[in-house]
Subunit: 673 residues, 2 copies
């Protein structure tokens, strides 16, 4: 899927163009410039909440308080329990930070959410159409008098966010005050959804690449060989702990994670979690009844700060991933006892899938392709009848995925966007607001599934009627970008950042581009956006065994949107002259839209690649469809994987034939080549 | 030219393969493992120097002292006056840092210089085949006991080098001690070459893009609009001051610079230079007899630190470029009075050439092409006679350049390398050690000129006999890389780093690569490596009006080397769908080697580009050769710019003809396509 959440921060500043309103506007949005203000039914009354909140602020001597959009694990998706910014402001979008001062309340969010914010916020709130710490700091400097105290929850701030805000306010005589006891929670009180408490379970052996014991040993080996000799690794991202122990649960939407931390030392393993969620079977699985280096000690989730603080008193060095550890934990470890890397060794180890994990992910993609093909066939049948809308379509594809073996729900909120809605890179339809799919418009579906063996993510863009030549050109250039990156051969340890332009070259050539990233890692029944793999500057270098999405796009504001996304495995490349080179092997196996491809734009090598890909799809998905007796789908597959021929072909002629052909053509055309 | 000096630091760590010895070895290199040690005649006896030096160290209470390879301006080339590391160690290579402790002396340099170091150093010196601050710090930690004091000259350290060393030594109980009075200079004494003192002159108006007054006004405008409101800009790189005032001299080899600093404040202009070098004419040109904001006050070069310190007492903010300002100046300005950017506004303004500067640089490249073509023709005549060697060749090309109008010498030490020597990316022949050019070997010439209107830099690789098919393939793939990057269309403000892989793709595809950067900025009668333009991560984004070299290569260790380098101007691109896009316009106008191009590897678009380039060369250089009556050169030009035809062509057939041709071919081949 196109990058959201944590990714969105990187993305939003550069989204090309702003979304136009997709509904009539006015009536369903607030108007604070009339008296009395007009508020739509969707607006949330925050007057009482803010009054209570400001009383709490006063008690603490604060002039303002910052409410970010994340949780204590810097999660991309958060549980309702953590939706503080939503509760205080009424705004439910996934990205957006708020500041409440004595007199004002302000929200900063990106263009995806401006309309939604106008619908959901009442007139207590200012909307700022910017993101990042600078606009927020600028506002604070303007609104809060010198000497002012700005409160924040250190567990909801990344190290970088804190440093950045602190830098902006430096020398201004306004200070950031860390308040561990979250102020919103105090006001939210009993209304606040409780912490998720479903059982935590372990994965069956056939769904894991290694046992947790093997993983622990591997990480400890890395600790020993690290030049700064860390004595412990602190895991604060939820997927780190889930991956390490092969444990899963259901706390976070779309992600099978559970609230947890891990402190893995050279002589102990401490898992911070709500112990009541662990059955005796799980406790036994974790060897929690012993105290040796391969026994997992269960400590209460809430004790993490205290425990880290205590541990840090000793002669220790704690290895952390600075990209996602919160300032709250970072701040309690003395500087000289920190071993800082962008990503923890668990994050890095997790990104390289071993052979078994690769096979599991490949298998999930085969079943996922079946679900996708069933949906595309279903659309071909039903769209012409005018009975499908964006929302029902999304439900249908989720249904097809749900029927696949090992299915465990969607891996993110399905982006099902018709016509101009697809130009909004992160649009998702709702039951209330959606567009009917039409033969005369393009339709973009960006969706994925969670399966016990793997997480999937794929985007296809289709048109059931006659696309314009510009739509075809744009689609073809996006496809050329996808192909050019997918077929690239590059040296081992190349950073994604230096090769992602191959996905853009064909678009650039015509003066087209897209304003989002080109891809992200993906997990085995973990995150659909799995750090630290991808094509951004803060991703790590590509290595054999990593999986990444490759997803160029093009968005024509107010008209249509195109994205073609596949997941690819990084494999060793065999080159003519050897050397240590890598290449991508695409594991998403769903045909592209033939009627949107202008073959005359494709270079011979791109065409060759495409036909080879179609052959692979037939080989791998064909038998699956036949076996399940999905006849209509099988026929559709055959039709849509027929080799493409350039009907104004590039022909490579052998030297001996050049003159012959030139002569023939000269005769035929009455002119020389 | 391939990146050297400051660039080399980035390069050396990743040079692929190590150079083999190009001479018999043994006899001309030291052997410290025999008794008594064997020293070649080229070795420098440093025993007395080191003894004196250590006495000075003892006086200062130092346990070690670091001697880097640069000057107080972080210059790429340095005057003899600053060759401290050479004097103390005997080693004359351009890159390499030394540390002298009480008992040992050690030098760190990269693979280009290992043989040279073994020839020039005596057995007082250890050679460390590594670069960067970490190996040096590791050595210091091993050799210097806790409590040790390590002296250094803060004016020979960049901010980053200091920070990096300081970090490595942190917590080790060894401290870096800044000693302003350079210790080598004290021992060097009267033997030390004096500061250059030739006159400083100003450029005639027809060789400048703007007057110094216009430039000063522009920089002051930038100071006013900067969010941190700097009150002054401190210029410490020599080309900053030379560019700002349109002044030149002759202090530094290959660079027309003079020892200087500038402190440009919002109300004054202070030029730090040896005043005796300025004629009354120059003083008048600088309006040095008044004191207003557009008058240049001349202060002594040696007073810079004291002056900056004094200025920093007031309520000021000094804007510096942190990439090249020394720790010596950085350290005297209080942190809160610094406005830090990677590059000063002068550095950035200088990188964008206005229309007149562009025309000047283009004109220099036309004359430079004439000199290059004269040389290539001369080689074709003389190499078969066996009378040309690398060194005499280098002298010949310098001679041809010297005969061009406005010539002011070479812009760097000519890389003239035959056969296996060309595999050493920075090889330069000497009068004593060189190889004879042969029809049976490839020859690489990387050279450039200084002209009053512009600086040039071009590399061509040739073969006068029958190259192997691997040599042709490698050459063609390097050329494809050059073409692919040269013909790229990319959005405004794209960083070079994200597009440089286009110069490597064709090589990567076959498992080939090169271990140096892909290009660098270039000046108008300034540096041949002009920061901050280029394709590295610390270069700034591409903008219209910048010039950069584009220089992919391939190096077959022990056999041959290939590099194809052109200088290109960044221009606005006209795309089909508009938008703000950029492209390169190549201004180096010298044909490539036809007998090294395997046209069957080229894609149709690459071939088309190449033939268009040849047409441009004919148009721009042809008349110049004719006008000068250089008949042989003109004929050579025509022969070498004949359109290339792929003798196993890709033919794009119009749709209507596809079937016809297919049928014809089927008939001809007795098989279907």
């Amino acid at each position: 899927m196109v990058l959201a959440g944590l990714w969105a921060f990187l993305l939003c500043a550069c989204v090309l163009g702003h979304p136009k309103q997709t509904t009539s506007g006015g009536e369903d949005m607030r108007n604070c410039s009339v008296t009395p203000p007009f508020l739509p039914v969707t607006a949330v009354n925050t007057t009482v909440r803010l009054k209570d909140f400001r009383q709490h602020m006063e008690t603490k001597g604060l002039d303002a308080y910052i409410i970010p959009d994340t949780d204590a694990h810097m999660s991309e998706y958060i549980a309702e329990h953590d939706e503080r910014r939503r509760w205080i402001s009424g705004f439910s979008g996934s990205a957006g930070n708020a500041v409440v001062s004595k007199m004002k309340a302000a929200l900063w969010t990106d263009s995806r959410y401006w309309i939604q914010a106008e619908r959901q916020m009442d007139c207590n709130w200012e909307l700022h159409k910017e993101v990042g710490t600078l606009p927020m700091a600028t506002w604070i400097l303007a609104e809060i008098p010198a000497g002012g105290q700005i409160g924040f929850d250190p567990f909801l701030f990344s190290i970088d966010t804190w440093k950045s805000l602190d830098l902006h306010l430096q020398g201004s005589n306004r200070s950031l005050v860390a308040i561990t006891d979250n102020l919103v929670d105090q006001v939210w009180g009993t209304e606040r959804p409780s912490l998720p408490s479903q059982p935590i379970y372990y994965l069956q052996e056939n769904f894991t690449g290694s046992t947790w014991q093997e993983k622990v040993t591997e990480i400890r080996n890395q600790m020993q060989t690290h030049s700064n000799a860390p004595t412990a690794v602190l895991l604060s991202a939820l997927d780190e702990t889930a991956w390490l122990f092969n444990l899963r649960s259901n706390d976070i939407p779309y992600n099978p994670f559970f609230y947890s931390y891990t402190l893995l030392t050279n002589s102990s393993i401490r898992l911070f979690v709500n112990a009541s969620r662990l059955s005796s079977d799980v406790l036994q699985y974790l060897s929690s009844d012993c105290t040796g280096p391969m026994c997992v000690q269960i400590e209460d989730y809430g004790r993490i700060q205290e425990s880290i603080q205590k541990y840090s008193v000793e002669d220790v060095r704690v290895w952390i991933g600075t990209e996602y550890t919160t300032y709250g934990l970072y701040g309690v470890i003395p500087q000289e006892k920190l071993v800082e890397d962008s990503y923890s060794p668990v994050m890095v180890a997790k990104s390289v899938k071993n052979r078994k994990e690769q096979d599991l992910l490949r298998a999930a993609h085969v079943r996922d392709a079946v679900a996708m093909i069933r949906y595309l066939v279903w659309l071909e049948e039903n769209v012409p009848q005018g009975t499908v809308d964006e929302f029902s379509g999304a439900e249908q594809v989720n249904k097809f995925r749900g029927e696949e073996e090992f299915s465990s729900g969607p891996s993110f909120e399905t982006i099902s966007a018709s016509g101009l809605n697809a130009a909004l890179a992160h649009y998702s339809p709702t039951k209330e607001i959606h567009r009917t799919l039409s033969q005369d418009e393009m339709y973009l579906l960006d969706s994925g599934g969670q399966y016990w063996d793997g997480t999937t993510d794929i985007t296809r863009t289709v048109h059931w009627g006659i696309p314009s030549s510009f739509q075809k050109e744009a689609y073809t250039r996006v496809l050329m970008g996808n192909i050019d990156l997918c077929r690239l051969v590059f040296p081992s340890s190349t950073s994604g950042r230096v090769v992602e332009a191959f996905a853009r070259r064909a678009l650039w050539e015509a003066g087209l581009n897209y304003g989002h990233g080109t891809g992200h890692g993906i997990g085995n029944f973990l995150s659909v956006h799995e750090w630290p793999v991808g094509f951004q500057s803060n991703n790590i270098a590509m290595a054999k065994g990593m999986f990444t999405s490759i997803e160029p796009g093009y968005y024509q504001d107010g008209e249509f949107g195109i994205r073609i996304e596949d997941v690819a495995l990084v494999v060793e490349a065999q080159t003519k002259y050897g050397g240590s080179y890598l290449a991508f092997e695409v594991v998403s196996l769903v045909p592209y839209s033939r009627n949107l491809i202008n073959t005359t734009l494709l270079l011979p090598e791109q065409l060759e690649y495409l036909n080879q890909y179609y052959k692979t799809i037939r080989q791998k998905i064909g038998p699956e469809l036949q076996q399940r007796n999905l006849k209509q789908e099988y026929e559709w597959l055959l039709k849509n994987t027929e080799p493409l021929i350039d009907n104004s072909s590039w022909v490579r002629l052998p030297a001996s034939l050049t003159i012959l052909v030139a002569t023939t053509l000269a005769l035929a055309l009455g002119q020389s080549l």
